[in-house]
């Protein structure tokens, strides 16, 4: 069981959170010409790294806020968490 530090509520059990995917994925700009391949990459294709990974998590049973988590996918060590408009310190 992970203990995740919500930037708003503090440390809470993983039970209260929901995983939201890769935090580095950026949606293509609205109004721009986008190739089908770029849309495919945005919608479907994800890396599956072993090691440090930036992720989105949702405190779904708590404050209901989205935030970013820097986590090691092999050891589950959590290095840092931050609000969506912030950057990691570690």
């Amino acid at each position: 069981m992970l203990e995740i530090k919500c930037p708003y509520c503090g440390k809470r059990s993983q039970n209260e959170f929901s995983y939201g995917g890769d935090a580095t994925i950026k949606r293509p700009q609205l109004g721009e010409e986008i190739s089908t391949e770029d849309w495919d990459n945005f919608v479907y294709y994800r890396d599956n790294p072993r090691g440090k990974h930036s992720e989105l998590w949702h405190h779904v049973s708590g404050c209901r806020q989205w935030f970013k988590v820097s986590r090691d996918t092999a050891t589950h060590e959590i290095f840092d968490t931050c609000k969506m408009n912030e950057d990691f310190n570690v």
Partner: protein, 198 residues
């Protein structure tokens, strides 16, 4: 034709009497349904420039930190998320008071009085009952009287409002449709201590 009644969320679930391992025990757990509360959610709009520190409702400030509750005899204001609060009171005219204190250009004001089932559990073992199903850290003196937390209980999303610790007393809010399931989850966990439904 029979007149329609307002039924409380736990009308068909909450039973009065003594249950579980209650014989020859003093200071039994007490479980009751809290009815007729006014529960108003307010959420500040992002575009609003109002200063939260200057807002008061029923002479209560809006807490700006997690877990915090500001309260008086009648009303409790619970922090439930950034720029989001629940205002809970026995006052029927609570919504009118809120509209006098804040503008609906600054806040989304939603009456959710009918959409919550509210249980109160009190007694020396009340905290132990909550520990069985909730991942909140009740140790290390982090969660104290007049704190609140959104969390889960056996997978059901709930809000815990910690009222007192002499003896322990908590108000527990669940979505109305989960009320029955939550009630049975709490009462099942209480059987080993014995409880009185009041």
């Amino acid at each position: 034709m029979e007149q329609a009644q307002n039924l409380s969320p736990l009308h068909f679930d909450h039973k009065l009497g003594l249950f579980g391992d209650h014989e020859n025990k003093e200071n039994l757990l007490k479980i009751s349904e809290i009815k007729d509360l006014s529960i108003i959610q307010i959420a500040k709009f992002k575009k609003s420039s109002i200063e939260i520190e200057k807002v008061t409702i029923n002479q209560l400030n809006l807490p700006t930190e997690s877990l915090k509750v500001s309260h008086n005899q009648e009303t409790r204001v619970l922090w439930t998320g950034p720029d989001t609060w629940l205002i809970i009171s026995k006052k029927i005219d609570l919504k009118d008071e809120i509209y006098k204190s804040i503008r609906d250009e600054d806040f989304a004001i939603t009456d959710i009085s009918q959409s919550r089932a509210v249980l109160q559990i009190s007694g020396v073992n009340a905290k132990n009952v909550l520990k069985k199903g909730s991942p909140i850290n009740f140790n290390e003196n982090m969660f104290k009287p007049n704190n609140c937390a959104n969390t889960t209980y056996n997978g059901i999303n709930i809000l815990i409002d910690y009222l007192d610790d002499q003896p322990f007393c908590f108000n527990l809010y669940a979505l109305r449709s989960f009320g029955g399931s939550f009630y049975h989850s709490i009462t099942d966990s209480s059987l080993e201590y014995g409880y009185e439904g009041i």
